[in-house]
């Protein structure tokens, strides 16, 4: 599809920030806090660690191979057979992550907002819109992320203002890990949620300048984690540790609690509209990564058939997930797989980049 070189580091900051809003991050609190309440937030550390690793490897690869896009560079770094295999693994990972993320959005729309609309129609609609947005290219999405970050702040402020009356610090306490066995799954879920940052490998070549890009991405990751932590703490402070662990759509539940005096209540429709704008951009970025990486793997120019064929295939994959429990089962399998796969992929890219840099003379460009 061809990346332009017109993404600024500021836009990259917003993209990273937005990747952690909506989608998988909506269900993450449910998967984390059930057994260990507030203390389970410690499991975010594994995600943060992976995120930092991805950003570091991405920046290192970018400094060595700026002249080419990511998937073609893998054949240069690792040789053709291994490069193609690793490229395919990246494409498959992007696709699996995008399907999980998009299904999460469809589940919120279909299960909470548009209850009577057939799920197939919802899937088609969402994929059509997201497919169209991703077809327009990275630049359009990058511009939209700037707007969406304002929406992220708006819904967070709305939830804060509406729930502060019911918030109690005592509901957050005590800070203790009651069940250490349950921390391990929480660590896995957290790692998987942050693995969405792998799409930075696809975005990085489109940067118009890479100076301070890595620090910007790290900062964005920390800020987005901060926003996520605020959501979780708010929910724990309002609903308590037990109830929060039984709510799948935490931000939506918080939106249902909003009552500001007697003039602002039942705000979930407003909340949903703002949130949908965010997840559409978020999902478009993921879908763009899948499409772009597939184009690069197959060494094709921007192809309508390939893009929309992929969108159709992913929509069909989404239709195979029948309910949220099956989605959780799939997410769990992927989370377990990615713990092995992602470090392996990162090590290969890192080693390949280092060797490639040495072959070229060792000096970063």
């Amino acid at each position: 599809m061809g990346s332009s070189k017109l993404i600024s580091t500021r836009e990259l900051f917003y993209i990273v920030l937005l990747l952690h809003q909506g989608g998988v991050f909506w269900v993450l609190p449910y998967l984390q806090v059930k057994e260990n309440g507030t203390a389970s937030l410690v499991s975010l550390l594994s995600g943060l660690l992976l995120g930092a690793l991805i950003i570091a490897v991405c920046a290192f690869w970018g400094s060595r191979c700026r002249e080419t896009t990511f998937i073609p560079s893998l054949t240069q770094l690792l040789g053709k057979p291994l490069g193609k295999i690793v490229g395919l693994l990246f494409v498959l990972f992007y696709a699996a992550f995008a399907v999980i993320s998009l299904y999460t959005c469809i589940e919120v729309i279909g299960g909470q907002l548009l209850l009577e609309t057939p799920r197939t129609l919802l899937i088609c609609t969402v994929f059509l819109l997201v497919g169209w947005l991703s077809w327009n290219g990275l630049e359009d999405m990058a511009r939209l992320t700037v707007l969406c970050v304002v929406l992220v702040a708006a819904i967070l402020l709305l939830a804060l203002a509406g729930s502060v009356e019911l918030f109690s610090v005592e509901n957050l306490l005590p800070l203790e890990l009651r069940s250490v066995d349950d921390v391990r799954p929480a660590l896995l879920h957290s790692t998987f949620a942050y693995s969405g940052l792998m799409i930075l490998f696809m975005i990085y070549p489109a940067l118009n300048q890479t100076r301070r890009a890595a620090s910007g991405m790290l900062l964005a990751m920390v800020v987005s984690t901060g926003i996520f932590v605020v959501w979780v703490l708010l929910a724990l402070g309002v609903f308590g540790q037990f109830s929060t662990g039984s709510m799948i759509w935490l931000p939506l539940e918080l939106a249902r609690m909003i009552r500001i005096s007697s003039f602002l209540e039942r705000t979930e429709a407003l909340f949903a509209v703002l949130w949908l704008a965010i997840v559409f951009v978020n999902s478009s970025l993921l879908l763009w990564s899948v499409s772009e990486s597939l184009h690069q793997l197959l060494e094709r120019q921007k192809s309508r058939w390939l893009h929309w064929g992929l969108v159709t295939l992913m929509a069909l994959a989404c239709m195979q997930i029948k309910d949220i429990l099956r989605m959780f089962a799939l997410e769990w399998q992927l989370a377990r797989g990615s713990v092995v796969l992602l470090p392996l992929l990162l090590v290969l890219v890192l080693a390949g980049s280092w060797l490639y840099g040495r072959r070229k003379g060792g000096a970063p460009q």
Binding site: Q112, L113, L114, L115, E116, T117, P118, L121, L122, C124, T125, L128, L129, L166, V169, E170, N171, L172, L173, P174, E176, V238, F239, G240, F242, S243, E253, R256, M257, R259, S262, E265, R266
Partner: protein, 371 residues
């Protein structure tokens, strides 16, 4: 047909489908029966639901009593009862606007959680929905025909709103119930009681004490006055005075939220630090006869008496709660949050009954001399 035409037609179809999405879930305002209040009863193994419905007419801007309906149904479960109602409902029942849930005595004695479970899972109720307890059958409250309000569908919500305006934390929402019931340390919750006086009038009077999802007892309005020292807020209270020429004064008490303090771990002793500003708003005739320089002295005298009487009352009510074994004070929650080692692994209901609660009431009388 050319492939490009097929492609465009397909795209047009998809776009049309995309923009028709909302139509599947459309709700016509004048074809809905909007539920404002639901009453849940449990009698003879059967759940009974009574729903007060508002059936708006698009042509009319105001709501008249002709647009109100009360409909009921019963079944082995809440889901069954709701289905029975939907069979005979004049319009599609729209439950998303439910604002108040009335809980009958039968349900409170049986298992309140079961009554709410179905409606919560169906997303019919929000955690912000208010709860009211009824001594007797909850459905009867909705059948009452209050003359005091033109639009009786808002009677209950107006009563609750007025109460909330006066006493902060006086209403109980579903979230309070789940917080108390699902906690590691079992807590209790006070649900305001609504009483029908004949068929003409409804009023809030006292409350139901719910512990471990079941009714533990009924409490009167005076008990609630003590309880509201825990939640904070503003309250009007008439206090008989002894040792002064004045028989009683009406106090406007601005209460701050209770601050707990651990005094000792073994034996477990805590102190409830209660603070409030007191304004005498009625019957301050004594002050009128005194010169200004003596008013300050009188203030102190009244303050001492007020403090003494309120402290005794609060201690008595706290004792009653301890005897009932219902931690409505959320003391267990506080201890578990800040001193978990004192609660963990111990039988909290027993511990709560045995612990010593010291009451430290700090009051100050303000602006006695002003009208």
């Amino acid at each position: 047909m050319k492939p490009s035409v097929i492609w465009k037609l397909l795209l047009l179809f998809c776009i049309t489908a995309a923009f028709c999405n909302g139509c599947w879930d459309k709700k016509e305002f004048n074809q809905l029966a909007i539920a404002q209040t639901i009453a849940i009863d449990y009698e003879d193994g059967q759940y009974q639901l009574t729903i007060q419905l508002l059936m708006p007419n698009a042509a009319e801007e105001t709501i008249s009593s002709e647009q109100m309906w009360v409909i009921d149904g019963q079944g082995d479960s809440v889901g069954d009862a709701l289905e029975q109602i939907s069979f005979c409902a004049p319009r599609e029942i729209y439950l998303e606007h439910l604002d108040i849930v009335l809980l009958g005595q039968g349900l409170l004695e049986h298992d309140m959680g079961q009554g709410l479970e179905f409606l919560m899972k169906q997303h019919v109720l929000r955690r912000r929905t208010s709860l009211l307890a009824v001594e007797g059958r909850a459905g009867d409250i909705l059948q009452a025909k209050p003359d005091l309000a033109d639009v009786d569908i808002f009677y209950l919500s107006n009563l609750l709103r007025d109460q909330k305006r006066r006493v902060k934390g006086s209403s109980t929402i579903i979230n309070d119930y789940y917080l108390a019931m699902n906690d590691t340390v079992p807590g209790a919750v006070v649900i305001p009681r609504i009483v029908a006086k004949g068929e003409k009038e409804l009023c809030l009077d006292g409350g139901a004490l719910v512990y471990q999802k079941e009714l533990a007892g009924w409490v009167d309005q005076q008990w609630l006055t003590s309880y509201h020292w825990i939640t904070g807020g503003r309250e009007i209270y008439t206090l008989p005075l002894e040792q002064t020429q004045q028989r009683a004064v009406t106090l406007d008490i601005h209460k701050k939220r209770c601050q707990w303090e651990l005094l000792s771990a073994e034996p477990l002793r805590v102190r409830a630090n209660l603070q409030g500003s007191i304004y005498i708003v009625e019957n301050d005739t004594l002050a009128e006869t005194l010169p200004l320089q003596q008013i300050e002295q009188l203030n102190r005298q009244v303050e001492t008496q007020v403090k003494q009487q309120l402290t005794e009352q609060i201690q008595k009510d706290f004792k009653q709660v301890q005897q009932q074994g219902c931690d409505v004070l959320r003391l267990g929650r506080w201890l578990y949050a800040w001193h978990p080692e004192l609660v963990r692994g111990r039988d909290w209901p027993q511990l709560f009954g045995e612990l010593e609660i010291e009451v430290n009431l700090e009051t100050e009388i303000e602006l006695y001399e002003l009208k």
